[in-house]
């Protein structure tokens, strides 16, 4: 890691830390308790940002998949791969925090409703995306196949949403414009915190993947020399 990179990295790390701490403080100390739902509503400040950033992560997968198929530059593939992993983790958290909130408020863990079902389909799609890679015979082929899934899967999202919305709807509508000032601030800081966390994780994951690739190449050349 060179000088400017490590400075950027430390800045990123510091900002993520400060924002996450600020977000925690705002969620638990600053934001008022919601009148009808009570304390459980605070999970909303994690649930919503996680959902948005997961979606952002999948959008990054989509764009970098296209770029990879066009330029065959492995850096796009690495970015798509790590972004998909983070997106799947964030979606998993969305699917866990959602039912925790829904049980006391709706009275049921799960409803087959538009946004819940879309998130579930999204989760399944990108798990499949990660599986394609591991089943491919060679790395480059796995990257190509995954890119195809990354494109097809993302294009499918609005169609899934549309069809499930017509099917059923129960999720609370977009609350953001009716949100009280202090609640909105808490939410926005939460979104900022998770955005930085996403960038930080993506940075780590891509660096790790690049290093793993280098090690593999080194090992191959060593093996060839020994022979």
């Amino acid at each position: 890691m060179n000088q400017t990179n490590s400075l950027k990295y430390n800045l990123l790390l510091g900002l993520s830390f400060v924002l996450i701490m600020a977000s925690l403080a705002l969620v638990f100390l600053y934001a008022p308790t919601e009148k009808e739902m009570g304390e459980i509503q605070r999970i909303f400040y994690f649930h919503v940002p996680l959902g948005w950033i997961a979606f952002l992560a999948f959008f990054v997968v989509f764009v970098s998949s296209i770029l990879y198929l066009r330029n065959r530059d492995s850096k796009w593939d690495t970015l798509a791969h790590s972004s998909a992993e983070i997106g799947v983790i964030f979606t998993t958290l969305v699917l866990i925090t959602g039912p925790i909130w829904a049980k006391p408020v709706w009275g049921s863990w799960w409803e087959w409703e538009a946004r819940l079902t879309s998130s579930l389909v999204l989760w399944l799609t990108y798990l499949a995306y990660l599986l394609v890679r591991s089943y491919a015979r060679e790395e480059s082929r796995g990257a190509r196949f995954a890119a195809v899934m990354g494109i097809v899967g993302f294009i499918n999202v609005p169609i899934v949403y549309l069809s499930v919305r017509l099917w059923r709807t129960q999720h609370p509508p977009h609350l953001v414009d009716t949100l009280e000032g202090s609640m909105l601030l808490t939410l926005l800081i939460g979104v900022a915190a998770f955005t930085f966390l996403y960038v930080l994780l993506a940075y780590h994951r891509t660096t790790l993947m690049n290093q793993a690739r280098k090690v593999r190449i080194l090992r191959q050349t060593l093996d060839e020399r020994e022979e």
């Binding site: 190509r144 195809v148 069809s163 099917w167």
Partner: protein, 220 residues
Amino acid sequence: MNKVFAILWKDILSELRAKEIAASVLFFAILVIVVFSFAFDPEDDTIGLVAPGVLWVAFTFAGVLGLNRMFAMEKEKGCLEGLMLCPVDRDIIYWGKMAGSFIFMIIVEVVVTPIFLVLFDLPLFMPELALIAVLATVGFVSVGTLFSALATNTRAKDVLLPILFFPIVIPVIICAVKASEVAFDGKPFGDMLSWLGIMGAFDVIFLVVSSLVFEFVIEE
């Protein structure tokens, strides 16, 4: 167009000679319907709830089976290399294979649907069902052909196709089930228009997208 037809004709001929896909897929679809009837135990009052689901689960599962064979047979006999050596664009291969899968699936549906309607005691003449079936089948084979080609080039080809295929075709399954429900209930045609619309949009979008990315899937 001639080239697409040549590939399609090749598939039809080899199927006519080997009778490898259609018969087994057909039998499988009927088995799924029978097994699900036992699983759900449909009575007079629940039949309307269960029937559309059973029909489309059967076609989805049978479709995966057939789609798996479409490229597996090319791979086994080394025909895929031959196809790729043909002086045609890769998307021609896609359209040809897609058309083949479409015809096979439609044949299966044409045979299985009347059996299903009899077993579930539903009216036999339902022209709307044909329209639903065509739209849903185009949706299935549009992404199915792409993923079938993809899956044959991997280590776990039999498992991978359903894993990729099911999450993507969920909108088609929802729409097909809902539209069939409207048809089985004898409600007016207008009630199913929005479902047909979504399926139509899915078909157009994925025919275009799949034909565009197909070359990346079969490239060696």
